[in-house]
């Protein structure tokens, strides 16, 4: 909307109807949509203004019936407020016109010179000026509010006197002085004494120039506390005086935390950049997201060359998969220690590195896996060197009891150590022999194999191998030797020397053969032999590790059927549980034990087995196995059973016979008693008695003859009984 289109409300205060019509005419010519109010007296104008607040401009005639001149202007200015007033005057007195301007009117126009365009222009200016004036006033007000209510302490001071001219509420609150106190103070009074000279010097140039001051100063609160503040100060005109508006932001806390942050950053930098560890951040697939600058000093690779590449591509083939497998565990584990692995450095050499991975994917500052890696090459190499030197030491130590031969390929002679004389007995021989001599002393049966192995390793340029063979002594006997051979190769891969350390293992061999002999005894004996582990892992007893052929023949179980099982496989319903408990108890106490129990063969056949079991201890005295000798004692057991059966029968016979024999004897004894009694009385028939005694005696005789005959038969019976019981099974 343009100025012209706007519907202005215009008040014309004019008592002369001719002048009014003229002005109205002019206005309508330019501003057709305007609403024109007409007052002919000051009182009328006052009335309109008191009711209508939307008047945009007032045209005022200076000679009204109820007021005129300067007093009229003054009265009107009181009423109009921010509404612009344009004076219309017939006076040609320009002096007065100018004077009215100083009274606050916007413009004055001479009625005689009035035309439409002039009127319009004057009105436009007046309204616009009025609007700008109002806005300025409002903005000043806004700024004032901003100053007063700002949470940041602000003050205005006189650049000459340094006196406070204004302070905001925040300053009052912050520094602790009341407004009145502030306004009686100058800014150097809030400076700490020790800073005064410095600040004075700092401030001085700014008292003259109009530049923006930006710096950090300290000031003192009313309670004496010292505050560090960031100051922004710019020049303003304060009621015509040169002043500075100062804004003071308290940065004491900020400084403290900045200081702490700085220290921790420095510490971190020291760790990451100047430490001896390589600190990297990897993503979940092992790609470097960040590589610490120490990679240059440790590996000779710039961080930039590693970033974006996969860690595994730097790792030795033999170690790579171990590291990858462990890396995967980071899905579930927060922290992992990776044992030394080989890592390719900037010169394509392998370094032994040790890493600790920490999964910090959840940490927004990291979002990855932190790898803390250390070069441990030195300690690993030292370890390897140490092992080598221990090996070498062992060999040298052995050398004192070994026969050392040293073959030089240029001369093709062999130099021997004192073992040649001491162990092999060649006392009067020179310590240097040719190769043929060595060859001639190897047992004919071993010769082919020994030279075969030697040629194979020689052609392959293997630097170490070992062999066992028989070597002839001075007395013609053979010693078994264990020969460790080292082949020395020069830089052109040509063999230079071959050194052998022959260890006399004759005794070991003999021991071996003795063991073989013992083994063959066990294998070939008719007694069944079972060897088990020492510890029982199941309730049936310890695991069987060996059975001989006799066992298989006796029980029907082949070796591979019974291995890893235990002896309980042979127990059954007629196996005496009491005997088994006896065995169990003995085994618990590592004691030898002999039991006789009924066992069952693989085909279910029952047999009596005698088992003699004893613990076997190894060289250190630990029980390592049980050895059990098993015998089929069915025959003996059956024989004993038969004898026991017969004893019972014999006892029965003896009992019966004692009754039968004693019957006639008792009669005879009875009659003898009677006869004895009778000598006293004499009234009984003795011939009767004699008859009874005789018949009883004959009966007794007959009985004894029968018994003797029966006993003769019984003597031959056990044999018969046994064959009978065997047939019954």
């Amino acid at each position: 909307m343009t100025f012209r289109d706007k519907k202005h409300q215009i008040l014309i205060v004019e008592d002369n109807p001719g002048d009014f019509l003229l002005i109205e005419d002019y206005l309508q010519e330019e501003l057709a949509s305007s609403l024109i109010h007409h007052a002919t007296t000051f009182a009328q104008a006052k009335d309109i203004l008191s009711r209508n607040v939307s008047i945009d401009i007032i045209f005022l005639d200076l000679s009204l019936p109820d007021a005129s001149g300067e007093s009229l202007v003054n009265e009107m200015m009181k009423l109009s407020g921010s509404v612009p007033v344009v004076v219309l005057t017939g006076y040609t007195d320009k002096e007065f016109g100018i004077k009215t301007l100083s009274l606050g009117i916007s413009d004055y126009l001479l009625k005689d010179e009035l035309n439409a365009s002039q009127l319009f222009r004057s009105m436009t200016y007046a309204i616009e000026r009025g609007r700008i004036h109002t806005e300025l006033k409002e903005s000043e007000e806004n700024y004032r509010n901003l100053f007063q209510s700002s949470p940041i302490p602000m003050w205005v001071f006189d650049t000459d006197s340094l006196a406070f001219l204004d302070v905001n509420d925040s300053s009052i609150k912050h520094l602790g002085y009341a407004r009145e106190e502030f306004l009686s103070m100058s800014i150097n009074q809030i400076w700490p004494e020790e800073d005064e000279a410095t600040f004075e010097a700092l401030l001085n140039p700014y008292r003259k120039n109009k530049l923006l001051f930006h710096g950090v100063i300290r000031y003192k609160k009313k309670n004496g506390e010292i505050i560090t503040a960031e100051i922004v100060s710019n020049v303003i005109d304060f009621d015509g005086r040169s002043a500075r508006l100062t804004q003071a932001t308290d940065i004491t806390e900020k400084l403290k935390s900045e200081q702490a942050l700085k220290i921790s950053e420095q510490r971190f930098k020291a760790l990451v950049q100047e430490g001896s560890d390589l600190i990297d951040i990897l993503n979940a697939s092992g790609i470097y997201k960040y590589v610490s600058p120490t990679s240059s000093s440790i590996l000779g690779i710039n961080p930039g060359q590693m970033t974006g590449k996969k860690i595994f591509d730097f790792i030795h083939e033999e170690d790579k998969y171990r590291v990858m497998d462990q890396f995967k565990l980071l899905n579930t584990q927060k922290r992992l220690h990776i044992l030394p692995f080989r890592f390719r450095d900037g010169e394509n050499k392998w370094r032994w590195m040790e890493t600790i991975f920490t999964n910090l994917s959840d940490d927004p500052a990291i979002e990855g896996i932190v790898a803390n890696t250390r070069d441990v090459s030195e300690s690993i190499e030292n370890e390897i060197k140490l092992k080598d030197s221990v090996d070498r030491y062992n060999i040298v130590a052995k050398a004192t009891s070994d026969i050392i031969w040293d073959r030089d390929f240029t001369s093709d002679k062999i130099t021997w150590n004192r073992g040649l004389q001491g162990i092999l007995g060649y006392r009067d021989m020179d310590a240097v022999t040719d190769v043929e001599w060595w060859y001639s002393k190897v047992h004919p049966d071993d010769k082919g194999r020994v030279t075969g192995i030697m040629n194979f390793n020689f052609n392959k340029k293997n630097t170490r191998w070992q062999d066992e063979y028989r070597f002839q002594c001075a007395d013609g006997s053979y010693k078994y030797v264990f020969d460790r051979v080292f082949l020395e190769i020069d830089e052109f891969r040509n063999p230079v020397r071959m050194i052998g350390a022959m260890q006399d293992i004759t005794r070991k061999k003999e021991e071996e053969q003795r063991l073989k002999l013992l083994e063959s005894v066990i294998t070939n004996t008719n007694d069944a032999v079972v060897i088990t582990e020492a510890e029982s892992k199941s309730s049936g007893g310890p695991k069987i590790v060996y059975v001989n052929d006799a066992f298989s023949k006796m029980t029907g179980y082949a070796m591979d059927e019974i291995l890893d099982k235990n002896l309980s496989i042979m127990y059954g319903s007629n196996t005496d549980a009491k005997e088994l408990r006896h065995l169990e108890k003995a085994m618990e106490n590592w004691e030898a034990c002999e039991i006789e129990i009924v066992n069952y063969k693989k085909n279910g056949e029952e047999f009596w087995m005698n088992m003699d079991i004893a613990p076997v201890s190894d060289g250190k005295g630990w029980f390592s196995h049980w050895i059990a000798i098993l015998r089929d004692v069915s025959e003996r057991m059956n024989y004993i059973q038969a004898i026991e059966d017969q004893n019972i029968k014999l006892r029965e016979i003896a009992w019966t016979q004692s009754h039968i024999v004693r019957a006639p004897l008792a009669r005879i004894m009875g009659f003898i008693d009677l006869l004895n009694e009778d000598t006293k009385g004499g009234e009984m028939d003795k011939s009767d008695f004699i008859t009874h005694i005789r018949s009883s005696a004959y009966e007794l005789d007959e009985i004894i003859r029968t018994i003797v005959k029966k006993t003769e038969q019984v003597e031959n019976q056990p044999q018969n009984n046994e064959s009978r019981s065997n047939n019954s099974r």
């Binding site: 004692s658 009754h659 019957a663 004897l665 008792a666 009669r667 009677l674 009874h692």
Partner: protein, 134 residues
């Protein structure tokens, strides 16, 4: 209350001999005699006098019903408390003696033959001594 003495033995000569001894010793003037336990059980089952007591001289080895079987048979008889048994046997086996003394009715064990002396000892056995105190 009277005590009837009964000899049980399959050997008639022994019965004859023992009768003489019992009479001579005054243990019983005219004892009853049976050849096996079965006959005696039959006899006892038909006895009616309730105040009568029996002293049985019992042999072990007999046909039909031997001494053991007899002892087993009377355990639950109503007259069992009226019976005193003295084993009289040709057995000299201590096992037999031990076995005999496990029976409640058995009061003593004698080896054959019994003589006057044996009979006098029988009279003094506490369980039956009261019958001979006159």
């Amino acid at each position: 209350m009277s005590l009837e003495v009964i000899i049980v033995d399959d050997d008639k000569i022994i019965i004859y001999l023992h009768k003489i001894m019992l009479a001579k010793s005054g243990l019983s003037a005219n004892p009853l005699a049976y050849l096996n336990g079965k006959e005696l059980i039959y006899h006892l089952n038909h006895e009616t006098m309730t105040d009568k007591r029996y002293l049985i001289l019992l042999d072990i080895n007999m046909p039909e019903m031997n001494g053991w079987e007899f002892l087993d048979a009377i355990i639950n008889k109503p007259f069992t408390d009226h019976i005193f048994v003295i084993m009289v046997t040709s057995s000299i086996d201590s096992i037999d003696k031990e076995k005999a003394l496990t029976y409640r009715n058995v009061i003593e064990f004698f080896e054959k033959p019994i003589d006057i002396e044996s009979c006098n000892r029988m009279k003094m056995i506490p369980a039956i001594a009261r019958f001979f105190n006159d």
